[in-house]
Structure formats: C-alpha cells, structure tokens
C-alpha cells in the first residue's frame, strides 16, 4: 500500500536542509531554517517549542500540504519534490493520516461515514472496508456512536473519530498537530493513550506537535524547535518516568 513499500530499509522520514520562507522582501518570515531530521519506522515523535517556532510548518510540509522553499523530504525513501499535485494527492491518500487540532469532521456525515470517507474518496466501497471502519470506531471506543453526527459528539469523541479516520487507509505515517489542544484533560488523556497504543501495539509511525509536556511524555522521542531550527532532539530527562506514571493512571479503554 505505501508508496515505497519496496524500499524496506529507508527510514520512515528523512528531512534534509528543509527551509520554508513565507512572503518575500521586508515581510519575509523564515518559518523553517535548514532543518535536518530522520525518523525511524515505528517511532513516536513529539515536536515541541515556543509559539511561532515552525512546528506546524514542519508538519504541513511533512504532510505535503505545503511545498518547501528548499530542502527535501523523503517518505520511506520516496522524495516529495518533483511530484505533481495529483501524485501528492495520491501520496496523502495512501501514505499519510492527519489528525488536526480542530477535528475537521464533515458535519453532514455520521461518525462511521466520516471514518469511511478516505476510502470513498479512493473509490473503495466494498464491505471489507466498511467493516474496517466499524472496527476502528470500536477500537477508539465509539462502537455505540457510529450513526451520530459530529454535532452530537463531545470534543474528545470527535477527535477519536478523526483518529479512526486517519487510520482507515493504514498509512505509514500519522501526523497530528496539537491533537489535544482543544480537549479537556480527561479526553486529552484518552486521546494520548490511544495514539501511544497505536504506536506501541500496531507500529504506526506518529509525529505529533504539542505544547503540553504531559502529551510529549507519551512519545518516545521529543524534538524541540526554536526559530525554525531544531534546538534539541532526544529523550527529555524525566520524560520516561512521567510516561510510566501516565500508563499506570489510565484505565485501559
């Protein structure tokens, strides 16, 4: 399924000299300034840093939502640059799952239909994929909410629907920009646990932007950014402790 499935050796993500400049002349903003980053398969990485440091920009470039000013990105060995709009679309369709801060569910579709939407877009309409959508809703603890409209779900539930949606096409990479930024603490814990489990048990590669150290704690690796550059990269001290504590506190879904 993944675009570069043949290449079993390349890392999940390989970023070289990535630069993004918004605007031009006097008002130009260097949102990313020569970022190098490698993320292995099955890793869960949290990206942290002050506001305006370029976290979202990095994520958008990773998701091929925007094109870099210079530098390159490769997903499982396959470089983005040179791909046209259609190829990028297919790449997003099959290789990347998005989870946004605002859940971005289609208000006129039920939970189940929202989860199924990527498959419908890809032209898949068999019973197997529908069964998978239901299974995913079950997996995120919403088996009883399949026919609810987004407006009939809580924020945490909506975010879990959007996670199920991101998983439907079994993407190699899941990108999440402040997925808990809009949630209360209980929902936040549930969503974080879900992401951690997906990473741990099912080996999904996850890159997550967050401001919250607690959220970062569930990740195996934390990348700190400042002024469009990577300031530090690795396991923050004490993070593993916190990670353990969260696991103990949380009831399994």
């Amino acid at each position: 399924m993944t675009p570069a499935a043949s290449d079993g050796l390349a890392p999940a993500i390989e970023i070289r000299g990535l630069t993004k400049v918004f605007g031009s002349g006097q008002t130009a903003v260097r949102a990313l300034d020569g970022v190098d980053l490698e993320i292995g398969r099955g890793e869960m990485v949290a990206i942290m840093g002050p506001s305006g440091s370029g976290k979202s920009t990095l994520l958008h470039l990773l998701g091929a939502l925007e094109t870099p000013t210079s530098g390159s990105i490769a997903l499982a060995g396959r470089r983005f640059d040179g791909l046209d709009d259609r190829e990028l679309t297919l790449l997003r369709r099959e290789g990347i799952g998005f989870v946004f801060q605002f859940f971005n569910l289609l208000p006129s579709l039920t939970a189940e239909e929202n989860v199924l939407l990527p498959a419908l877009i890809a032209g898949l309409r068999d019973e197997a994929i529908a069964a998978r959508a239901r299974a995913l809703l079950d997996r995120v603890g919403l088996a009883g909410r399949t026919t609810h409209l987004p407006s009939e779900l809580s924020g945490g539930e909506q975010q879990r629907v959007s996670i199920a949606r991101a998983l439907l096409m079994e993407p190699a990479l899941i990108l999440a920009d402040e997925p808990t930024g809009n949630l209360d603490s209980k929902s936040e814990a549930q969503v974080l646990e879900l992401l951690a489990e997906l990473n741990r048990d099912e080996g999904h590669t996850i890159v997550m932007v967050t401001h919250d150290p607690d959220a970062a704690a569930v990740a195996g690796r934390v990348v700190f950014m400042r002024d469009g550059r990577i300031e530090s990269d690795g396991l923050g001290r004490g993070l593993l402790d916190r990670l353990r504590r969260i696991r103990e506190d949380l009831p399994l879904p």
Partner: protein, 865 residues
C-alpha cells in the same frame, strides 16, 4: 431519522443538499421559476398552434386551395369564381364573402367585449359544401334573411333556432332568422367571438360588397400533393400578384406566424427569469464554497484530487438543477393551464392543453444547463482550494476584486449595448437579430455583475446614509456587513437589478412611444371627432366597417362642416418600389384628398411641393409613404411604387413622405379612388369630423352620438382626448403584460436576497451573540438584518434604474432608425415604482433571516466557531 449509509464520494453531494434544505430551496427557486416559465410558454405555444391548425382544418374542411385578396387586402371581382372553375385541374369551387359584425341586443345596444362580435361567411346555398361542420339543430341556410350560427356562441348569447337576431351591418341593422346551429368537427369555437353562415346574396347587401368575393375555395381533381401544387401554380399565373393562392394549412401558419412574435417576447422573459436563476446558483455556490473552505481542504488532505472536488460541486449543481427543473415542470403545466384559462377568459380561441414532449425536455435541459453554468466558476474555485485550507479555513482569503475584472466588465457592456441597439434597429426581427439582442442584454448584465463589486463600497455608503441617520448603531453594522463582502452583496444586488432594469428598460420604450404618439396627435389632429367601430384595432385581423350611409347622414347634420372618410387595410407587404424587393408589413391608408387636409395637419415632405400640390397629386393617383418605410427602403419623392391588388396592378409616383409614427411609419397613403380601383375596398374604417365652429363642437358630438346610438350601435364617437387615451390604453395593456412577466424574474431574485441574508446571519452568529451579550435587544438585531437587506435592495434598485435607462435608450435609439420621430422619454413613474418595490422587497426578504438572527441563543452564539 435513519439515513442510508454513504456509499460513494459522490453521495456526499446528495448529503450536502439534504442537510441544507433551506439553502437548496432558496438556490433552486430561480431554476424552478425559470424552467416553469419556459415550460409553460412552450406548452402554451404548442396548444395555440394546435388550436389554429384544428380550427382551420374544420373551417376549410376538404378545401385544397384558397384564393383570396392578399390576406385582408381587399376583395376579388365576381369573375374570379368563374375563372377558377374553368381552370384546368379544378374539380369544384365555391366562393364566399367574409365580414365582421356585431350582435345588437334587445335594448338596441352592442355589448362591450368580443362576445357580441360575429364573424360571418356569406355562402352560396346551392354550391358544394367543403366545410367541416355539421348542423346540430335546425337546418342549413337556403336563402333570404337566414343565418346558421355556431352553437356555443348561440348558447352564450341565449340564441335558439327560430329566433330573430339583429346585426349591425354596414347597410344598417339587419334582422336575420336563425335557422340552424352548427358545430365544427374539432369541437373548437372562435373563442368568445361567434361564427355564422348566411346566404351570399343577403351577405352582399348587408355588408355592402356587391359583385365581389373575398375567398374562393378550390377542390382539386386528384388527391396527390402534386396536382394541388400544379393547380396552385396555374392559378397564380392566372391571377397575378394581387391575389393570394394558399393551402388551408398555409393560411393557418400565417396566423401562427403572427403569434410567433408574441412567443418570442414570452421566451425572452422566460430566458431572463432563468438567467436570474443561474445567477442565484452562482452566488449561492460561491458562498458555499467559501463557507466550506475548511471541509474541502480536509477532503484534499484525505486524498481527493482537484478534478474530484470540481466534479462534486458540479454534481451538486446538477442535482439542484434537476430538482428545480422537476418542480419547474409542475409549475410550467400549472402556468400553461392558467394562461389557457386566462386566454379563454379574454375570449381568445384556445383548445385543451397540448402536452408535447419537447416542452419538458427543452425546459429541463435549459434548467440543468443553467445550473451547471452557474456553478462552473464556483466549482473551479473549489478545485483550487489547497489542502492547507483544512488548517487555515478561509482565513486571509477575502481578496478584493482586481482591476482586470472591471475592465472585462466595461468591455462586455459596450458590445452589449450595441446588441440591444441592433435589436431595436432591425426592421425584421429575424432569429439572428433576436439572438444578438438577447446576447447583448445578457452581456450587459454580465458586465454589470463584474463591475458591481467596485460600486458596492460607495453605493452602500451613500444609500445607507438615511438608515444610519435613523438608527446609527444598527445602520452602521448593516452597512459594514454589506461592504465586508462586496462580491456577495454585488451578486445579490445584481440578481435583483436584472429584473428591475428590464422593467425600466421596457417602460422606457412605453413612455417614449406614448409621449411621441401624443405629440403627433397634438400636431396632426385638426379634427373635432372620430367615428370608428368599437374595439377598432387595425392590423389585428379583419375589422368591422362603417355603413356607407353614415357619412352622408352626418354631412346633413347642421353642426357638421367636414366629414372625411378613412379606409384602412393591413397588408402583409406594402407596395414595393419599382424593381425593388417585397415591401414590409404595413398599413394602406386611403382618404379623400379634397377633404382630408381640413382634418389632418401631419407634416408632409413633398420635396418642394406645397401641401395643396401634394394633395392634388394624390387626387390624380399618386401616393404618400410613411417616413419609417421611406427611410428603410430609401424611397424618395418622385419614385414609382407598384400597387398590386386583386382588382388591378398599376404604378404610382410618391407625392410626399409623411412624418408619422403610426404603424411604425410603415404606411402608404392613397386616394379613396385608387384604393377602390386597385384593392376593391369601398368600406369606411373611420370618419374624421369637423364642426362648423368651435362652439358647435359639442352640438355635433351630441347629434352624432344620437344618430349612432339609434342606428349604428357597433360604432363609437371619440373626442381627440378619448382617441388619445384609447391608444394609451392599448399600449399600457401590452406593457402591463410585459411587466407581469418580468415580475417572475424579480420574484426569483427575492430568494437570492433571502439566501444572502441567511448566510450573513450564519457568518455573524458570534457577532450577534456579542451584541446581545452587550445588551442589544432582539428588535435591534432584527433591525440590523433588515437594514442590510434594504441596503442590498436599494443598490439593486439604483443599478436597475441606471442600467434600465441605458438599455431602454439603446433599444430606442435602434428603434428610432425604423421609426423616425420617436424620442427618448425617461419613465419617471416606473423609476419611482421600482425604488418603492425594492424597499418592499428588501423588507420582505429580511423577515425570515431577521427572525432567525433575533432568536439565536446568546450563549450558543458566543461559542459558535
């Protein structure tokens, strides 16, 4: 509600429509109305066509060919029948005279309306009967003062077999015994008018047509088409130009061709309603695409390609168009039924609704096409939405329209006005001219649509001034809201502008014509009184005539100084210039050159010759030509025209060009004598009277009125003012009808305003919440919405009045080419009416959205994102 699960990406388009029913309703309304009108008009046209085919079929029955003076242009000499009978290939022939008369009631009066009108055919009782009617009661005519009448008319007038009826004929009031009732095989009748058959000899005396025929019906030997054509050709050679040889079907088509012009007008207005519908779709889809920016971006992140997004928006438009078209079809059938009932009510002959397949297919096709065309640009914009919009939403997108847009608008308006000018200038409205004209008018509207966003800012500022004065806070919010999204406000106001501009444009023509006609009356009427048949409308089929005795009797009245006879004949082709092409449709106008100068002071251009000389020349056989016809065909004083009538063909010099706008200046004037000799017409259409002195005027009027009341109840006496208001009424009636049709387009744009306001309420939910939290009352919230609506409507009105005036001016400039002497006159009354209508529309449109805004829950509104 259980919904079936979404089965494909395309199902999303259905779902979007289903969950936004109000928007669907408001957006599709224009399509419903447009399709309804087109379908209704097509059905009506088919029904009328069918009616006339049937009517002519049963009227002429087995007749293969009809020989007549060119349409109503005079009678055939009595020898015509013998000549036909002796022609090779003719098996049988019979001849008749035709006339129009009025039924005189028991009180000696003729009732108003067409119910008292009786079309009479004078037939030879001995001749073979080719017609397709049967006598249902009594018997056929044998001779003497007998008549057989059509049964539904007889019933309406409470006439039975054995009754004696009185008819106001040129020879005086005629008493006839009803010997039978007849019914046409098609079951149709002449609408409200009646039909009767009387003995030829009686009819000739009653209608003062001695020794002539109006028609000869021919039965051709052999059944095949070839022999009919051969006989037709032979008769044409035999009779020459002034006589028309036609099959009954062709005669029916003549009538239909006259109706065609009317149909074109109907199609035009239906097309305009649909155009407004397309505009509503355009505006609505533009708003939705903006609103769904985040959703569409999200679909793109999930892997939807650009073409998929474009197609899904178009699919939504197709579904909307299909829904609108289906509802429109229903409306169309109802409309057709309503129009048929209406036409029956005004005594127009029309059969039962003729359901054709073309009408629904054409209507649905145009409806769908309009919907897709309207959604094309919004769909293209949707396709360009980048995936990043899933994150950014519509932030930072409110782009101001670029100068290129304004330029494109200006570039469209100029050729648009030229197209309208062309439509007005054309002497013959061919399909090409109509297409150019309609394309021009649509180009103007498109151009305005492009320019409008630039006008919104200043217009909103100026027009909201009184509102801001009345209610500073609400007015300010409303005006800001209208200005915050100039594209949307512009599109909404433009949709309204279209209808209003058409009203102003049409009425510009109306007021200009009226004004010019009144001025011509003032210049040319030297008479005191006019006598004419009731409901006199030359050019609209055969008219009643005036008894010959009347002019002599009036002459003997002590107060009468001058009695001038006028004889009018509407012809399909005016006399052509020698060696030139066929003349246009127009009016032959005959008068006595010795008397007429005393009652008429119309300007004449005799190329140096004096008025007296011109009239002397007319007396010696020369003619005059209306300026409209003269300008079109380059006719000058001294040119020779060819007069071709059933009785004679001869040449006549042009003595003068007449400055008239009657019949659009498509007239040829000649002496009574020339008309009799060439066209065989000897009956008066109108009498122009002059009293011995100004003081005697009222005496004359009283005396003539008494005379007419007693012996000629089918006639009316009109003062010059009454004559003017008679013309005015006729003109106003047609323009009133057009205004009603444009009303549909205006009605459609009402839904556009509601749609925009609803969108505005949704967008400003938070703002409304804040206002309420700060202590604004529900009433104040309502006011802001109503004020925004008023600002939009007033912008539409201002643009409508401006564009409509330009449009009317261009049309009139074009028209004045064919009809010199018509000058532009702004329809001030209509303009005021349009402004008032816009205010009312604005207030009505605001009712629902304002209520919605006022009822928003404050807490929910504040947390709305």
């Amino acid at each position: 509600m259980r919904r079936s699960r979404l089965r494909s990406y395309w199902g999303l388009s259905f779902r979007q429509l289903r969950t936004r029913r109000l928007r669907v309703f408001l957006t599709a309304a224009g399509i419903v109305l447009g399709v309804g009108m087109i379908c209704g008009v097509l059905l009506l046209a088919a029904t009328i066509q069918r009616t006339f085919t049937d009517l002519y079929d049963s009227f002429y029955g087995q007749t293969d060919l009809v020989v007549s003076g060119s349409e109503s242009a005079g009678s055939l000499p009595a020898s015509a029948l013998r000549r036909v009978e002796q022609s090779e290939g003719v098996e049988d022939a019979s001849a008749s005279i035709l006339a129009v008369t009025s039924l005189v009631g028991e009180d000696g009066r003729v009732e108003e309306g067409s119910g008292s009108t009786l079309n009479v055919s004078g037939d030879d009782p001995e001749a073979t009967d080719f017609t397709d009617w049967t006598t249902t009661e009594g018997r056929g005519i044998r001779g003497g003062r007998e008549i057989e009448v059509e049964e539904s008319w007889a019933e309406a007038n409470e006439i039975g077999v054995g009754d004696t009826i009185r008819l106001a004929a040129p020879a005086g009031i005629y008493r006839l015994q009803v010997v039978g009732l007849l019914r046409f095989s098609s079951g149709l009748d002449f609408g409200g008018e009646g039909f009767g058959s009387m003995p030829l000899a009686t009819a000739r005396t009653a209608f003062d047509k001695p020794g002539v025929f109006d028609e000869v019906e021919v039965l051709v030997a052999g059944d095949d088409e070839g022999s009919v054509d051969a006989v037709g050709d032979r008769l044409e050679r035999e009779f020459g130009k002034g006589v028309e040889i036609a099959t009954p079907a062709a005669k029916g088509e003549d009538v239909q061709r006259q109706l065609q012009a009317f149909n074109v007008v109907l199609y035009f207005f239906a097309g305009m309603a649909l155009f407004v519908g397309g505009f509503l779709i355009f505006n609505s889809f533009n708003m939705t695409v903006l609103q769904r920016m985040r959703e569409i971006g999200m679909q793109r992140t999930l892997g939807a390609t650009r073409p998929m997004v474009v197609r899904s928006v178009l699919l939504e438009a197709v579904l909307l168009g299909a829904l609108g078209a289906v509802l429109g079809l229903g409306l169309g059938v109802l409309l057709a039924l309503g129009l048929i009932a209406l036409m029956r009510a005004i005594d127009f002959p029309v059969g039962d609704l003729e359901l054709t397949w073309i009408a629904p297919v054409a209507a649905v096709a145009t409806g769908l096409l309009t919907a897709v065309l309207g959604a094309l640009n919004p769909a293209r914009r949707a396709g360009r939405i980048a995936p990043i919009r899933a994150v950014l939403g519509s932030e930072g997108l409110r782009t101001r329209p670029g100068p290129l847009r304004a330029l494109a608008g200006v570039l469209l308006i100029a050729p648009g006005l030229a197209g309208a000018f062309l439509l007005g200038a054309a002497d013959e409205t061919t399909n090409g001219v109509i297409a150019a004209g309609i394309a021009g008018i649509i180009a103007i509207f498109f151009g305005i649509a492009l320019i409008a966003p630039f006008l919104i800012e200043p217009l909103a500022r100026v027009l909201s001034w009184p509102i801001r004065k009345l209610a500073p806070v609400e007015g300010r919010i409303a005006s800001d809201s209208a200005r915050s999204n100039p594209g949307r406000t512009a599109a909404t106001a433009t949709a309204l502008m279209i209808g209003l501009a058409l009203v102003v444009g049409i009425n510009s023509l109306g007021s200009s014509f009226l004004n010019s006609i009144e001025r011509e009356f003032d210049r040319s009427l030297a008479r005191d009184l006019t006598v004419q048949p009731r409901g006199f409308a030359p050019g609209q089929g055969p008219q009643q005539t005036i008894a010959k005795s009347l002019s002599q009797r009036i002459q003997k009245l002590p107060a009468a100084a001058v009695v001038a006879q006028e004889r009018l004949v509407a012809v399909p082709n005016l006399p052509r210039v020698k060696g030139g092409k066929e003349g246009p449709q127009g009016l032959l106008f005959a008068f006595d050159p010795k008397v007429y100068p005393q009652v008429d002071t119309t300007d004449l251009d005799g190329d140096g010759a004096s008025r007296e000389q011109v009239y002397e020349r007319i007396d010696s056989g020369q003619v005059t030509v209306g300026k409209g016809y003269a300008d079109e065909d380059g006719i000058e004083v001294g040119d020779a025209l060819v007069l071709e009538g059933p009785s004679d063909t001869r040449r006549a010099r042009v003595a003068a060009i007449v400055e008239t706008i009657f019949a659009g200046g498509q007239t040829v004037g000649l002496s009574l004598e020339t008309m009799r000799d060439v066209y065989g017409v000897t009956a008066d259409s109108q009498l122009a009277l002059k009293a011995t002195s100004d003081a005697a005027r009222s005496d004359l009027e009283r005396q003539v009125e008494r005379l007419i009341e007693r012996d000629y109840p089918n006639l009316a006496v009109l003062s010059n003012d009454e004559l003017k208001s008679d013309v005015e009424d006729q003109l106003n009636q047609s323009f009133g009808f057009f205004n009603a049709l444009v009303g549909v387009a205006i009605f459609a744009s009402l839904f556009g305003i509601i749609n925009t306001l609803s969108m505005s309420v949704i967008e400003r939910t938070r703002e409304i919440g804040v206002l309420r939290a700060l202590g604004a009352t529900r009433w104040q919230i309502r006011r802001t919405i109503a004020d925004e609506s008023l600002v939009i409507a007033l912008i539409g009105a201002v643009m409508g009045i401006a564009i409509g005036s330009g449009l009317g001016w261009a049309l009139l400039k074009g028209l004045s080419f064919g009809i010199p002497g018509v000058t532009y006159q702004p329809p001030v009354g209509t303009m005021i009416g349009v402004a008032v209508a816009a205010v009312i529309l604005g207030l009505v449109a605001a009712i629902l959205p304002a209520r919605r805004a006022a009822r928003l829950d404050v807490v929910e509104a504040l947390s709305y994102e």
